[in-house]
């Protein structure tokens, strides 16, 4: 009996000990994620965060694929094979509403990148000001990282305006833009923020780009970094696009003048030596290392935009949800010369014509282009004429540089243009051919206030043209923003 009692007492003690907690069990640290407290501790982690911003930018919902797809399929060149609402059918036939996934997903993806940028900028500044980051970063590196962050944010806001707002030129940016989020969001506070006007958002875009330009690296250490990371010429090139969309022709001329020489061969006069690739097809071919690519996003079989997002899924022939080219009378394809290298980058499958720019259905390694040198040249050509109200040989030379690279017999003479309007038409046509499947078409129509042409869609009936006065001219504010941001208002 005595032993039993002793045993019981010891047993009781053991029992109660098991209520004690082991600290590492009660406060476990994740092993697959890093704590926010340690992410600015080393240079490698800071660099990884810089790459993290780019990686967010290349989300399949944004520049990894869908942004370019939306901007092409909204317009007049493509017909879908599928009426699947998941794969851009509603964008194609202009039936998106504020609850459509396309409208909600892109907004979310772009703002997610904006917040990643804002969180990074604040964290980096804190780490720098506290002296911690100075132990492993030079001033030049610090500046460069800031410039990359600002540029990414500017691209995000610019792309948002393209999809969700009335073009700047229609009322000098007086209409509703998007909320300007410029500080890091990490807590539940601050849901409500009124939208800024289109003009205010443009002002911020230009401020970011102008702030970034002097801080940016002139060039990176490798060709692949020059294409996939922002440097000085990326910022300047992007500014030509921004000013072009604001119809600020003089500024386009000024900015492009920083890097485009006065005469052929139009190789960038400073910074990374961008130049037209003599072979159009090679711009899009592996290893995507053309000097023409100013900025494009690297895709690998391990790291890509995902199914139903990547460009080959939409513009290649094989997915069943792809878009083929309108090819009947009056179409762009019909107007192209068979010898044009850009016409050669097409194939006929099952009686339909498809682009062959993006071919990798299986491992999805086609790099989505963001901006390339040909656009800078065409931006400059157009701006020279529009700002001077006269067609100049310099402008024609720039146009010819892009045109004859693909279609040698197509050289324009100054005398071919009876009016400035004829030149504008030629530029627009050239851009349509040149950037097919690169997400430029819709932006071109809207920056000029042109109607989005109607189309006859295979088995899907007729889609009417969308005039610039239509509420469908740009996308509505997503319902989720209207629901959770009480200061947000519908914009059409």
């Amino acid at each position: 009996m005595k032993n039993i009692l002793k045993g019981s007492i010891i047993f009781t003690l053991i029992l109660l000990l098991n209520g004690c907690t082991k600290d590492e069990w009660m406060n476990p640290a994740p092993v697959t994620s890093l704590s926010d407290l340690t992410v600015f501790d080393t240079k490698d982690r800071v660099v990884a965060q810089v790459n993290g911003m780019y990686s967010s930018l290349k989300s399949g919902q944004h520049l990894g694929g869908r942004f370019q797809v939306y901007n092409d399929v909204r317009c007049d060149n493509f017909i879908p094979n599928s009426s699947n609402l998941v794969t851009c059918f509603a964008t194609w036939n202009h039936t998106v509403i504020s609850s459509t996934n396309e409208v909600q997903n892109m907004w979310g993806a772009v703002y997610s990148t904006i917040n990643v940028v804002n969180v990074f900028l604040e964290g980096l500044k804190d780490a720098w000001d506290s002296g911690k980051a100075k132990a492993f970063l030079t001033q030049a590196e610090y500046d460069q990282f800031v410039s990359e962050a600002l540029t990414i944010r500017a691209i995000c806001y610019f792309d948002l305006l393209q999809m969700y707002s009335k073009p700047y030129h229609m009322d000098n940016g007086a209409s509703q833009g998007v909320p300007l989020r410029l500080t890091a969001n990490k807590s539940a506070a601050g849901n409500d923020l009124a939208p800024s006007t289109v003009a205010e958002v443009y002002t911020q875009i230009l401020k970011d780009l102008n702030d970034a330009e002097p801080l940016a690296a002139t060039a990176h250490s490798s060709t692949s970094l020059n294409i996939t990371r922002v440097h000085k010429n990326t910022i300047i090139a992007y500014k030509t696009r921004v000013y072009l969309h604001m119809q600020d022709w003089a500024q386009v001329v000024t900015e492009s003048g920083k890097i485009v020489p006065a005469s052929a061969p139009f190789t960038a006069s400073s910074g990374v030596a961008h130049t037209l690739n003599p072979n159009y097809a090679n711009i899009f071919a592996t290893p995507n290392a053309s000097a023409e690519s100013i900025f494009s996003l690297p895709m690998t079989s391990s790291n890509n935009a995902g199914t139903q997002n990547h460009l080959a899924h939409y513009f290649g022939s094989g997915s069943g949800e792809s878009f083929y080219l309108v090819s009947g009378a009056g179409s762009l394809v019909a107007s192209m010369n068979a010898a044009d290298a850009r016409r050669v980058m097409m194939e006929t499958v099952g009686g339909q014509i498809y682009l062959t720019k993006y071919r990798d259905q299986t491992t999805r390694t086609d790099n989505p282009p963001v901006i390339r040198w040909a656009e800078v040249l065409l931006n400059r050509a157009e701006a020279i004429v529009r700002s001077g109200s006269a067609v100049t040989q310099g402008a024609v030379d720039l146009l010819n540089a892009v045109r004859t690279r693909s279609y040698a017999a197509g050289t324009y003479a100054l005398g071919d243009f009876a009016s400035v309007a004829a030149f504008y038409d030629a530029i627009l046509l050239e851009r349509n051919m040149e950037f097919l499947g690169e997400g430029i078409r819709n932006m071109d129509l809207m920056r000029l206030g042109l109607s989005i042409p109607g189309k006859v869609g295979g088995s899907f009936g007729t889609v009417a043209a969308i005039p610039s006065t239509s509420e469908s001219y740009y996308w509505p504010v997503p319902v989720s923003e209207l629901t959770y941001n009480s200061l947000m208002t519908p914009d059409n």
């Binding site: 098991n18 609850s99 990490k186 690297p298 319902v479 989720s480 009480s486």
Partner: protein, 1055 residues
């Protein structure tokens, strides 16, 4: 794992204090009763009242001690008892327990009365057992025997309609789907509302453990091993489970050995399963006529036509033939059990092999269990349970919602004028999807060819699981039991995917293989001190104190390959050309540490009071809020033991009457991630270089979600308990709801939400259950169990600034909305008012109340009905309304069991009323793209001015008018149903077997499960949940597989 090394522990001050108290307490208990005693010999015979024959195996114990004996085969017993002993208790399964005072006698003969009405049930409660009549909390019991023969994969599926307050919904008829279990309603919004499941004292893993091949974690417990299931509903019953008790607790107790003779049983059944209530879809001729009309109405001619198959016969395909089947099922279980005075054992093996109603969907389980209890001596007992289960599921993509490969959807979306194969015998596949075969349809339709994907693609889940406990207890003195239980639940599983390059999902990858392997390991260590005594003559006291720790670690890794080298290879291990993506993996862990205690007392079995308390720590909460305090109190008055009842004539009529009330506060942690409170960065890739980015906005104030639960009840038995009833009123106030608070998307917060303790809601209702022994003669018996639960749920507060939470099905269709003042998860839709008889257009109602018509083929699609002028487009954001609640107002079950001589018959019904279902599939079967339509569309679509119908003028490619673009109220229907869950008829061969064969009983039976459903709902089945157990999006039926009906024939044999 060195639990005992004190240096590695941080001892919380509160714990230290608690510990001292408990230590003192237990020492007091131990030292307080150091009395040595003399003994007396008692003997006698036990007989049964009905036939007067001796009863072997009767348990005889001295009241208030563990001293006991068992009667021999001649019904005789003898035992030595302490001189202080006053009363003997005689108990035997199936007989009413009897207490006999000694009064100095040494020979005591007892006649036991058969317990016809199960008055003396022992009920398993948290960390112990209690007599049914001593329980003040709300507890329902379901016997294992009630579900043993039901042809389901897991016990939870069989709980439908069995207990009041418990709602079980099968999401669809896919094999082995985890049902949605709700005890007293939805108790959370973005956390889980699933109850805690405890098997033999150890909380086990729950939910779907498969990938595309769904496998219910609970199917790893063989239903035929289950002795009983207790469902704890109110706070007083659940409070000892503290932080995990908010959604109720289901305690599973597996069988133990009993009886001196070794008992062997065999249970087996075989049968088949098939879908029922499939949609009636158009045949080829109807399809052609209707779709060409729709083309014509759009001004596009009549382009569709039939083409011939290889035999020159026009193609006419009935797609369900390629998707559904009669699935054969068989199930076998063998148990061996018995006991000696010191040892009892139970062993079982089980095998089940079930084909589903969907082709290539099957489930196989092999399991074995051994339970042993052994008394080492009069002080020490040991016990062990070991259960091993191997589960294997194979399945096509049976997915609900919008997958273009979803089986149920393909059955009704594909046109009858195309077939699975081309005339040359090859698969009809174009660009991965099914082809139009030159019928005028598009060359490729995008949707997958079920013939091909069912034959070539494969998804599997295999689990290996060991659930085991080892326990030891010491009884140093009478009434005091010190017990330790250590249990593990180790679950290893592998899911695999193989997609053929021929077509379907694998087409764009040129073949795809994906393997995922995970291990979830959990241990739970529980120590308790239990003391029961009679303090003064009539004051019975029970005290429980305990401590528990539980640690769970989950690890997984996965990899994929694309580009299969040769069609021969159909597994990841085969030869492939490309590794796809970077192999991934996961890791998570969590930990609980708790102290708990319970005191219950009653005076003379008339006045009961009980209090329980638990202090619970959970690692997933924020640093300063890991611990929470939970507990409850209950009171009960047993009037039937009052002399004014029992002594009066009323006692004859009113054999039992008890009034109860309880209050408690419990917590909820289900759905709180392992690291939800932390701010995290995740690493990925940018091309080939590593990245790091902000991936989780945590909440450093995250704490428990708490529920205050109130319960009041009345239990009574009439006419010697021939009629037993329980009535309960409950009110459950849920506060500090853990809500994944939606953030404005423009903030860019990862996932657009942050978990926070905001918001509140309540559930209130009545439960009524009735057990009636209608007839209990020797030849004929008839019992009825009836239960009904009325339930009301209302959200009373959401997060500041959040007025509504919208929830989508599969991220694609916003179907539900949660707002303050209404039940959670209301169905959201734009109001429609049928079809305009003049124009044949659907009438929509916008937010302003204007009627608007939709004409798909016109440039101006939306026009005011009043004057034909152009109207703004309708959309859910502005014009959608919370239309109806998908939560039933009342639900329950009715079981009838009849035996006549050797025949037995059972009829089990379940029902639910007062709720609505979003019949999303109806939008699909009326959609005017190339999709096939129901015969109803063919027959009743608008054709001429003046037609009164609710199906508008067909216009090809119109995906708006019937609700495919956004939900419309046309597709929200009442879901009221009464379902005949099981009908069974059995015959037992009793006493016809020669003595030497030792056959106790053989019963043969036939059974229909899910026999039929009475409902006005137009979809397959109103018991449906496309979004499985989502709190925020219930009541959605979108491309969901129908329920399965099963016919089975079985045998129960016992030796």
């Amino acid at each position: 794992m060195n639990i005992l090394a004190p240096a590695i522990y941080t001892i919380n001050l509160n714990f230290l204090f608690m510990k001292r108290i408990l230590l003192l307490f237990s020492l007091l208990l131990i030292t307080g009763s150091l009395v040595m005693a003399q003994t007396v010999m008692i003997s006698g015979t036990v007989t049964g009242s009905e036939d007067g024959l001796p009863l072997p195996g009767v348990n005889i114990t001295v009241k208030g001690t563990t001293v006991g004996a068992i009667s021999g085969s001649d019904g005789k017993y003898s035992m030595s008892v302490p001189a202080s002993a006053q009363t003997l208790i005689f108990s035997f399964i199936g007989f009413v327990t009897q207490e006999v005072p000694l009064s100095g006698k040494t020979t005591i003969d007892v006649v036991l009365r058969q317990d016809l009405y199960n008055v003396d049930e022992v009920v398993v409660v948290a960390y112990g057992t209690q007599q049914k009549r001593d329980i003040a909390g709300a507890v329902s019991t379901v016997r294992g025997d009630d579900i043993r023969s039901v042809p389901v994969q897991s016990f939870d599926q069989a709980l439908q309609g069995k207990a009041s307050g418990v709602s079980i919904t099968m999401p669809n008829g896919v094999l082995n789907n985890p049902p949605v279990i709700r005890i007293r309603g939805f108790n959370s919004i973005t956390s889980s509302s699933n109850p805690l499941i405890v098997v033999d004292g150890v909380p086990i893993f729950t939910g779907n453990i498969g990938g595309t091949a769904i496998q219910n974690s609970l199917a790893d417990v063989n239903p035929s091993d289950i002795e009983s299931m207790e469902i704890l509903k109110d706070a007083s019953a659940t409070a000892l489970y503290g932080s995990r008790a908010a959604n109720g607790v289901i305690i599973i107790t597996t069988k133990r050995g009993a009886g001196a003779r070794t008992k062997v049983t065999y249970d087996g059944y075989a049968g088949w399963t098939e879908p029922f209530r499939l949609f009636d879809m158009m045949n080829a001729a109807q399809y052609l006529e209707h779709k060409n009309l729709a083309y014509t109405n759009a001004g596009l001619g009549a382009p569709l036509h039939q083409v011939d198959d290889a035999n020159g016969v026009p193609i006419e395909t009935n797609w369900p033939d390629y998707i559904y089947q009669k699935g054969f099922q068989q199930n076998h279980a063998i148990t061996v059990s018995g006991s000696s005075p010191s040892t009892s054992y139970f062993m079982s093996v089980g095998f089940t092999d079930q084909d589903g109603m969907i082709q290539n969907n099957f489930y196989q389980r092999k399991n074995a269990r051994m339970n042993v209890d052994h008394k080492v001596n009069k002080y020490i007992s040991l016990g062990a349970n070991v259960a091993y289960t191997n589960g294997y599921t194979e399945s096509p993509n049976t997915g609900s919602s919008f997958a273009t490969s979803g089986a149920a959807r393909l059955a009704f979306v594909l046109p009858p004028i195309i077939g699975p194969k081309l005339n040359d015998g090859s698969w009809n596949v174009v660009s991965g999807g099914i082809g139009g075969m030159g019928t005028g349809l598009a060359a490729g339709l995008g949707y997958h060819n079920p013939g091909q994907i069912f034959e070539t693609n494969k998804h599997t889940t295999e689990s290996d699981r060991i659930m085991a406990t080892i326990s030891g207890s010491i009884t140093p003195i009478t009434g005091l039991v010190l017990k330790t239980v250590y249990g593990i639940d180790n679950l290893a599983r592998e899911t695999t995917t193989f997609w053929s390059p021929v077509g379907g999902d694998g087409f764009s990858y040129s073949g795809y293989a994906y393997n995922w392997t995970g291990k979830d390991n959990r241990w739970t260590w529980t120590n308790t001190i239990n003391y029961n005594t009679t303090l003064v003559e009539k004051l019975n006291l029970g005290v429980l104190a305990g401590a528990e720790q539980q640690r769970t670690v989950g690890r997984s890794w996965n990899a994929a390959k694309t580009g299969v080298s040769d069609p021969f290879f159909t597994t990841y291990a085969g030869s492939w050309t490309t590794g796809y993506g970077v192999p991934g993996g996961g890791y998570g862990e969590n930990f609980y540490a708790s102290y708990f205690g319970r005191v219950n007392a009653n005076w003379s079995r008339k006045y009961y009071i009980e209090g329980s308390y638990r202090r619970d720590g959970y690692s997933g909460l924020s640093k300063d809020n890991k611990f929470g305090n939970f507990g409850g109190v209950s009171l009960m008055w047993n009037l039937s033991n009052e002399s004014f009842i029992s002594g009066s004539g009323l006692g004859e009529l009113l054999s039992d009457i008890r009034l109860k009330a309880s209050y408690g506060r419990v917590g909820n942690m289900f759905g709180i991630g392992n690291y939800s409170s932390l701010f995290l960065y995740t690493s990925s890739l940018y091309g080939a270089v590593p990245t790091l980015y902000f991936s989780q906005a945590g909440n450093s104030d995250l704490q428990w979600e708490t529920s205050d639960k109130y319960d009041a009840g009345l239990s009574f038995g009439i006419l010697n308990d021939k009629l037993q009833a329980d009535i309960n009123y409950f009110y459950n106030d849920v506060n500090q709801l853990i809500l994944n608070v939606p953030q404005s998307p423009s903030k860019g917060i990862p996932g657009n939400s942050i978990p926070a303790n905001v918001g509140s809601m309540y559930n209130t209702g009545f439960e009524f259950s009735l057990r009636s022994f209608n007839i209990t003669t020797t030849n004929l018996s008839w019992t009825t169990n009836f239960n009904i639960t009325w339930l009301k749920n209302e959200v009373t507060e959401l997060a500041p600034g959040v007025v509504e939470i919208r929830t989508a099905t599969a991220d694609l269709e916003t179907t539900n909305i949660t707002v303050v003042g209404k039940p959670v998860g209301n169905l959201l839709a734009v109001e429609t008012r049928g079809v305009d008889p003049q124009t044949g257009r659907r009438i929509y109602v916008n937010a302003a109340g204007d009627e608007i018509l939709y004409s798909h083929e016109n440039a101006s699609k939306w026009t005011y009905r009043s004057d034909g002028s152009v109207a703004p487009a309708i959309n859910t954001a502005a014009d959608g309304k919370p239309w109806a609640s998908p939560l039933p107002k009342f639900y329950g079950g009715i079981d009838n069991n009849l035996t006549y001589k050797d025949f037995d018959f059972a009829l089990n019904l379940t029902y639910a009323f007062g709720f609505y279902v979003y019949a999303g599939s109806k939008a699909g079967i009326r959609d005017q793209r190339w999709w096939n339509n129901s015969v109803e569309v063919y027959e009743t679509a608008w054709k001429n001015p003046g037609d009164i119908t609710n199906i508008p003028k067909p216009v090809i490619n119109d995906n708006v008018s019937n609700g495919s673009s956004f939900p419309i109220t046309e597709n929200i229907e009442k879901g009221d149903y009464l379902k005949v869950r099981t009908i069974s008829l059995g015959y037992s061969f009793n006493n016809i077997w020669p003595e030497g064969m030792n056959i106790e009983k053989i019963r043969l039976y036939a059974q229909v499960f899910n026999a039929f459903v009475l409902t006005k709902y137009s979809g397959s089945d109103p018991e449906v949940s496309t979004n499985t157990d989502s709190n925020l999006a219930p009541g959605v039926d979108r491309n969901t597989a129908p329920q399965a009906r099963t016919y089975s024939f079985g045998v129960n044999v016992s030796f």
